[in-house]
Symmetry: C2
Subunit: 161 residues, 2 copies
DNA sequence: TATGAAATAATCCTACT
DNA sequence: AGTAGGATTATTTCATA
């Protein structure tokens, strides 16, 4: 190949910059913003999408207006940290809609979750019924967010009854 | 008023569901997906945007392909938790591009940050030069993510040199 | 990469259910 | 509130230079 597929020149970077702010912008407007005509922009866009650099496009929702303003971070420890146990937990956590993020952590605990619900009561239900019962969970510590200083918004749709 | 502006019926919910997955879908396609004709869908879409329920649209990027695969969570304690100190910190943290999320936490520490960088070296630089020097920061604890189990993707553009 | 033509879609409208 | 259709403008898509 003549060049690595993931190399991005300054036009690609500009495209990403614009799409990070307005994912619904038209190719025409995008082209004029970055100073190129439509065709190459369309080709570049397609390449970035096919490449996997651009994963997709999402609407961003206001958690407050959707009544899902309760955020908690949960440290989770497992009673078994062998591969099979970790895999079982990883698979199970994907199915819990209220869990927005889940990272395996190096250090004192095993996982850090970010959980979004409507309120504290809903959070307690999610913790008791969905998180605590996941495979190999031995204990959890919850830290409730009092205020969100920085966060792009909600990417998932609200969980409906 | 005849009804609350933020009430969402099942069509609105369907619209949000679709846009959560494909933020770039055309109004025509959206209309046929939710089983309504164009006019009402366009009106609803406009209402949801004007309402603030839909905050905007973003492209989602693959952190790995962009070489920004290092995620750390940072607990931050301040030496002063009075309003003015908190406000100073809140304002300052918004300017640190590598900080994706910042929440004020009820409990043992004051803030929890999520920081994304290219690698550990970059993280150390951000911690030392950008986070530790923010107003009223007294100490920090870092937890490095070993693996991302659940996360929608990157919303910001990569920080370029 | 640019340009221009044809197909498609968005936007706005009116009339009707 | 929603449907259906038409008119206008904008955009995508594709061919060609």
């Amino acid at each position: 190949m003549t060049k690595r597929t993931s190399e991005l020149d300054s036009f690609d970077q500009k495209i990403l910059d614009v799409l990070a702010v307005d994912g619904r912008i038209s190719v025409t407007a995008l082209a004029s913003k970055i100073g190129l005509s439509k065709s190459p922009v369309q080709a570049r866009l397609k390449r970035l999408e096919d490449n996997g650099v651009i994963r997709g496009y999402r609407a961003l929702f206001d958690p407050i207006r959707l009544g899902r303003n309760h955020i908690a971070f949960v440290e989770v420890k497992l009673d078994d940290t062998r591969e099979t146990a970790l895999n079982a937990f990883n698979t199970a956590i994907l199915r819990v809609g209220e869990v927005e993020q889940c990272h395996m952590i190096a250090g004192a605990f095993d996982y850090l979750l970010k959980v979004r619900t409507t309120d504290m009561a809903a959070y307690r239900a999610v913790l008791a019924e969905k998180i605590s019962t996941l495979p190999h969970v031995s204990n959890t510590s919850t830290y409730v967010a009092m205020q969100t200083i920085k966060e792009d918004g909600m990417l998932a749709t609200p969980v409906r009854p």
